[in-house]
Amino acid sequence: MNGVEGSSVTDVAFWVVSAIAIAASIMVVTLRDIFRAALFLALSFLAVAGLYILLRAEFLAVVQILVYVGAISILIVFAIVLVRDMPGGGKDNHLKVVAATVAALLGALAIFVSYNSDFTNLDALESSNADVAAALTGTYDLDASNAVGDEYEDQIAVAPPEGAEGTEIGIFSNSTGSIGGLFIRDFVLPFEAVSVLLLAAMIGALALLRQRGEES
């Protein structure tokens, strides 16, 4: 178990990172300057990566930085730069009522789901979900690992780190390897489907290119 100081430090870190994420998101929707809005979007992605780290999902955190901050935000910035005279800010589009309704519905849904989820009872998840949770967070409960069986032991339940005492928080392990284990065992079909999805995305991008070529 973490020491008292340790957990309070992580609590403070959680509040700081969440505050940054929320503040940055608010800036994204309120700023008129679309380029700055994109920068704040990247900041909020970065803060979400911080949240993943606090959840001990370091692989997810790094992927969040690599894909969302490093690639998707850059794509958004490129789009902004390419569109003529965008920095001046867009016009009002008279859809405020619709937008407010949709946003309110989504917000209500998020509140409903988080209110009705029992976050204190994560241990009671069925074993397959526990695998996913364990792989994503890199922590693994000894009991759960026994329940899954021997074949996973080399994947997920590595030996406890030197000097670690007790296993109340589960054995810390390598979350990258655990995710790899899940990809190639339990989620083969989704994994292969991803490649088809990426191929489709690439063909879509090329279609954009061809249209452009035919115009000029």
């Binding site: 430090v9 894909v67 390419l82 790899g180 083969v188 994994f191 191929l199 090329l206």
Partner: protein
């Protein structure tokens, strides 16, 4: 004492914080030492002596956007490859062929993009 995992990332954050302090220190030093004599001409963007005209963003080539799209796709693919690389040796043979299918489909995509001329700058 916080345990291993938190300590590692705390150390990374501390490293970034110390780096930030160093940069702020450099800025402060420079701010104290440097002259401050603004003039209208200093505020003009440097474009080799020509007075800058109106700036239009659409002067940027669309091709950059295509490269960014392709980059995004291959970035996601690389992300999927990383967990596979460090696990496939501990697993059964079938995993190796699964990955070949994954790679094959994506390399087909690359070949397709190449064939369509998306990779050449025209």
């Amino acid at each position: 004492m916080p345990e291993g995992f938190d300590v590692k990332w705390a150390a990374v954050v501390i490293g970034a914080g110390v780096g930030l302090m160093a940069i702020v220190g450099l800025f402060m030093t420079s701010w104290f030492l440097s002259p401050k004599r603004p003039s209208e001409d200093k505020g003009v963007a440097y474009e080799s002596g020509i007075r800058p005209g109106e700036f239009r963003w659409s002067q940027i080539n669309i091709r950059y956007y295509i490269y960014a799209l392709l980059f995004l796709i291959f970035d996601v693919e690389a992300v999927f490859l990383f967990p596979w690389t460090i696990t496939f040796l501990k697993s059964s043979d079938i995993v190796f062929y699964e990955m070949l299918v994954f790679l094959g489909i994506l390399l087909f995509g690359l070949a397709f993009a190449w064939r369509k001329g998306a990779l050449s700058w025209r």
